[in-house]
C-alpha cells in the first residue's frame, strides 16, 4: 500500500529582511505580548490588591498621594506629588523644569522619612537624586483644556462631554518615565529575578497604571472641592475611556539601536506567536468569533484615532479603508479550515498595506492566549554576556554575516549626501538626544553610533583586503574603530531581529517609525505624531481601574468597546 507522503511545510517566522524595515516597524500595533497587557493579565491572575493610604490635596491640586499595589509577595507604592504649575512653564520637552505632577515608584511602603526625602527630590526630576529604594521617576502634565472641562462639568453636577474626551483621550500625559538606574534609582538587574518584573518595562507600566488612577481621583477631588454638594461623581464608563497620555521624543529611538539583543527578543517573541497561529491547521467557531469581534472593535479604534500630522492622516486613511476590506473579506472567508490564519495573512499581504497587515498579525493572536502568552517570558535580555566579541572568528565568516544581515546597506552609496544627511547627537542641555543635519550644523564630531548600516558597509570595505583566514582579533587590534560594528554583527548573527534593516541617517528618515515600534510593544494605541520626531500616544485607555480588574478576565481592554464611552 502506498504511504501517504503529503507533508505540510511548517511556516517559519517572517524574514527579518521583511520585518525589520522602518516602514513596517512604524506600522506595528499592540498585541497580547504588549507590556501593558502582560502586566494587567498578571494583576488579574494573581489577584493584586490596591490601597491608597495617603491622599492630601488643596483646591489647586497641590499635595501628595501614595497608591500601593499588593502583589502576592511584595508591595510597590506610587508616590505622587501635585504642583501648581503656571501655564507658561508647561512643556513636554525633556528640557522642561517643572510639571503638574511628579512621581516615583517605591519598592515597598514608604515611611514618612522616605516621603520627606522624596519630596525634596522628585519634583526636581533630573535635578534630583533618588536611591535604590526607588524604581522609577516620572512626571506628567495636564491636558489643560480637558482638565478644566472635566472639573467644571463635574463641579456643576454634570458629566463631561464624551466627544471632548475622545478628542484628547487623557487628562494628563507623562513626558518621561525613567527606570533602571536613572538618577540613582535601582538598576533593573536588582529586581529582574522577581516574576512580576521579568517581562520588559513592567515597573514603568505599573507606574503609569497607578498614575492613571491618581489622575482620576485628583480630578474628582478638585471638582468636589469646587462644586461641594452639587458636584457629580465621574461616570465609571467615561473614566474608563480615559487613558494616560504620553509624549515621546527622540530618546526612544536610540534605545532600540542601543539594545540589539533586547529588541531582537521583543520582535522574535511576536514573530514566534504569529508563526504559531499561522501554522494552526484549523480554528474553532469560538476562536473565529473572538477574532471577528475584536476586528470590529479595531475598526472603531481606527475611527476614533485622530491626528493632524500629514503622514499619519494618510496612514489612517489607508488603515481604515484596509480594515474595512479585511472585514468584508472575513465576512465571507472560511476562517475555520485549511490553515485559515495563514491563508488570511497571505491574503492581507497581497491586498492590504503594512499598517493593516500588522494590525491583522496582532489580531490573529487574540484567540490564542494559551498558545502565545507564555512567549512574554522570552522578551527580556537575560544574557548580559552577549557583548563579548569572538576574536577567533575568521574574517570570511564575518564577511558572510555582513552580506546576509546588512546586504541592504552594502548596496547603498554612503558617500551620497542624502544617504547620510542626518546625524544623531546628544545635546549639552539635559543630555537630550537630537537629530541634526550633518551638512548644515556642526554636529558630526558629536555623532552617536546609531547608523549600523553605514557602519557595516564601512567595516565590509575595510575587510576587503584582509586575508579570509585571518582572525578578527588581529583585525580589531589594528582597527578599533570597527569594534562596535563587529559586536553588532556577531549579535545579529545569533539574533536575526536585532537590527533595523534600514537607513537611520538618510534624508528621508522618519524617526517616529522607531518610536511607534517601541510604543506599540508597550501597548500604546492612537499614535499621534506632532512632528516627524515626537509623538503622542494613549496608554491604558479603556483599561480597568484597580478595583475593576477582576471583572475583566477577557484581556481585551486594548480594543475600544463597540458602543463608545464604556461597555
Amino acid at each position: 500500500m502506498k504511504q501517504q507522503t503529503e507533508t505540510i511545510q511548517t511556516i517559519a517566522k517572517r524574514d527579518p529582511a521583511l520585518v525589520m524595515r522602518l516602514s513596517r516597524l512604524g506600522s506595528f500595533h499592540q498585541s497580547r505580548l504588549s507590556f501593558m497587557r502582560i502586566l494587567t493579565r498578571r494583576m488579574i491572575r494573581e489577584n493584586w490588591r490596591f490601597s491608597r493610604p495617603i491622599f492630601e490635596f488643596d483646591d489647586k491640586g497641590v499635595g501628595q498621594a501614595v497608591y500601593c499595589a499588593h502583589t502576592p509577595d511584595r508591595i510597590y507604592s506610587l508616590i505622587a506629588f501635585g504642583h501648581d504649575l503656571p501655564a507658561e512653564a508647561r512643556s513636554d520637552r525633556v528640557i522642561a523644569e517643572a510639571w503638574d505632577s511628579t512621581f516615583t515608584l517605591f519598592d515597598g511602603v514608604p515611611s514618612e522619612a522616605d516621603i520627606a526625602r522624596l519630596r525634596q527630590n522628585i519634583p526636581l526630576q533630573e535635578a534630583g537624586r533618588v536611591t535604590e529604594k526607588e524604581l522609577s521617576v516620572s512626571r506628567a502634565n495636564r491636558s489643560v483644556r480637558l482638565w478644566d472641562h472635566v472639573v467644571s462639568s463635574l463641579a456643576a453636577g454634570k458629566q463631561p462631554d464624551q466627544n471632548q474626551i475622545n478628542k484628547v483621550g487623557y487628562l494628563m500625559r507623562t513626558t518621561a518615565v525613567y527606570g533602571s538606574g536613572k538618577l540613582g534609582a535601582a538598576d533593573r538587574e536588582m529586581i529582574a529575578d522577581r516574576p512580576e518584573c521579568s517581562a520588559p518595562f513592567q515597573i514603568e507600566m505599573l507606574s503609569v497604571f497607578l498614575t492613571r488612577t491618581y489622575v482620576r481621583d485628583l480630578v474628582q477631588h478638585l471638582a468636589t472641592l469646587k462644586g461641594g454638594d452639587r458636584a457629580a461623581k465621574l461616570d465609571p464608563g467615561i473614566a474608563r475611556s480615559m487613558g494616560i497620555g504620553n509624549s515621546t521624543g527622540l530618546g526612544m529611538a536610540p534605545f532600540l539601536v542601543n539594545h540589539p539583543m533586547l529588541f531582537n527578543n521583543w520582535i522574535a517573541a511576536r514573530e514566534e506567536a504569529i508563526a504559531t497561529v499561522r501554522n494552526l491547521p484549523s480554528a474553532t467557531g469560538a476562536a473565529v468569533a473572538v477574532f471577528r469581534s475584536l476586528l470590529g472593535r479595531s475598526l472603531v479604534s481606527a475611527d476614533i484615532w485622530h491626528s493632524e500630522h500629514p503622514i499619519q492622516i494618510e496612514k489612517l486613511k489607508q488603515l481604515r479603508s484596509d480594515l474595512g476590506r479585511l472585514n468584508a473579506h472575513v465576512e465571507r472567508a472560511d476562517l475555520q479550515n485549511a490553515r485559515p490564519w495563514d491563508r488570511l495573512y497571505r491574503w492581507a499581504e497581497a491586498e492590504l498595506g503594512e499598517d493593516a497587515q500588522e494590525c491583522l498579525a496582532s489580531l490573529m493572536l487574540e484567540p490564542y492566549g494559551p498558545l502565545v502568552d507564555h512567549l512574554a517570558d522570552q522578551m527580556s535580555d537575560g544574557k548580559p554576556g552577549a557583548f563579548r566579541i569572538d576574536g577567533t572568528q575568521p574574517v570570511a565568516d564575518l564577511r558572510a554575516i555582513l552580506e546576509r544581515a546588512y546586504g541592504w546597506a552594502l548596496q547603498i552609496n554612503w558617500d551620497e549626501k542624502e544617504q547620510c544627511a542626518r546625524a544623531w547627537y546628544v545635546s549639552e542641555e539635559k543630555l537630550e538626544p537630537r537629530l541634526g543635519e550633518r551638512f548644515e550644523e556642526p554636529i558630526a564630531p558629536y555623532e552617536q553610533p546609531l547608523a549600523p548600516g553605514r557602519d557595516a558597509a564601512a567595516l565590509y570595505a575595510a575587510l576587503r583586503d584582509v586575508d579570509s583566514d585571518a582572525s578578527l582579533a588581529a583585525f580589531l587590534l589594528a582597527h578599533p574603530e570597527h569594534r562596535h560594528t563587529v559586536r553588532r554583527a556577531q549579535i545579529v548573527d545569533r539574533a536575526p531581529y536585532a537590527e533595523i534593516r534600514d537607513n537611520t541617517i538618510g534624508s528621508d528618515l522618519v524617526p517616529i517609525d522607531m518610536l511607534r515600534c517601541k510604543l506599540a510593544f508597550f501597548g500604546a494605541t492612537h499614535f499621534d505624531p506632532r512632528s516627524d520626531r515626537w509623538v503622542r500616544i494613549c496608554m491604558f485607555g479603556n483599561a480597568p481601574y484597580p478595583e475593576e480588574l477582576q471583572q475583566n478576565q477577557d484581556d481585551d481592554w486594548s480594543y475600544p468597546p463597540l458602543v463608545k464611552g464604556g461597555k
Binding site: S143, D187, R388, T392, S427, E428, R434, A473, R483, S531
Partner: protein, 216 residues
C-alpha cells in the same frame, strides 16, 4: 556618593569616548568600570587616571604592537583597555595553557574585568598577576591576594594572565551599587562633556522636533 551600576557604566562609556577611545572600546571601558565598581574596586578612579594620562593618544601607540610573543606597546606603556579587549578577544589562547604576558601596563587593575569575561567564556578560572599580587576570577567573583597593596598601582612592568586555580574559600562577590566620589565623578564628567554638542537655538527648536504646541 551611591550610584546605580547603570549610571556608572553610562558615565564611564561617555568619558572614555570623550577621551578619544572608539565607540566599541568605550562600550567595554564602561562595562569594565561597572564591573570593578560592583566589586567596590577603584574602577572609576583608575579610569579617570588612565584617560588623563593617555588623553588624545592614538590607539596604535598604546595597544599591543603584535599578538605573538609578549604584548607591548610600540613605545611607552600599554593602555589597560587596549590590552584588555585584546585579551578577551584572544581568550581561547589561555585554554591551551598559554599565558599572555603584557609588558609595561598602565593601571593593570583595569585589565581584570576582561580576564573575568575570558573566564566566563572559558568556564575556567583565570588569574591575573603582577608584582606579588594575584587575582583569580571565575567571571563573577574574585579571590584577591595582595600582600603589598599593589592593586591600584599606576604601572606594572609585567602582567601575566593565565588559567587560574579553583578555590575552596568563598569568592568576593559583586554588589548591586557602586560608590563614586563627587571629585572622580566630576573628573569623568569633563571627558564625558566632550561628547555633547553645545546647545544652539536652532538645535533646541529643530533637533528634538519641537514645533507643534505642547499644550492641548
Amino acid at each position: 556618593m551611591s550610584h546605580s551600576l547603570n549610571e556608572i557604566e553610562a558615565h564611564a562609556k561617555r568619558a572614555a569616548r570623550g577621551a578619544g577611545l572608539s565607540w566599541g572600546m568605550s562600550e567595554e571601558a564602561g562595562k569594565a568600570t561597572r564591573w570593578l565598581a560592583s566589586h567596590d574596586l577603584a574602577g572609576p578612579a583608575l579610569l579617570s587616571a588612565v584617560l588623563t594620562q593617555n588623553d588624545g593618544l592614538p590607539h596604535a601607540q598604546v595597544a599591543p604592537a603584535a599578538l605573538n610573543g609578549a604584548w607591548r606597546a610600540p613605545a611607552g606603556d600599554l593602555c589597560p583597555f587596549a590590552a584588555g579587549v585584546t585579551l578577551n578577544d584572544c581568550a581561547d589562547r589561555l585554554a591551551a595553557d598559554r599565558a599572555v604576558e603584557m609588558v609595561n601596563v598602565s593601571y593593570p587593575l583595569l585589565v581584570l574585568p576582561f580576564a573575568a569575561w575570558a573566564s566566563m567564556h572559558l568556564k575556567r578560572p583565570v588569574r591575573l598577576a603582577w608584582q606579588d599580587l594575584r587575582i583569580d576570577t571565575d567571571g563573577d567573583g574574585i579571590w584577591l591576594e595582595d600582600p603589598e597593596s599593589r592593586i591600584n598601582t599606576e604601572k606594572a612592568a609585567m602582567v601575566i594572565c593565565e588559567i587560574g586555580t579553583t578555590h575552596e574559600n568563598p569568592a568576593r562577590r559583586p554588589g548591586k551599587r557602586g560608590t563614586v566620589s563627587t571629585d572622580i565623578w566630576e573628573r569623568l564628567n569633563t571627558f564625558a562633556k566632550r561628547t555633547y554638542a553645545p546647545a544652539t537655538e536652532a538645535s533646541r527648536l529643530l533637533g528634538a522636533g519641537a514645533g507643534a504646541t505642547d499644550n492641548d
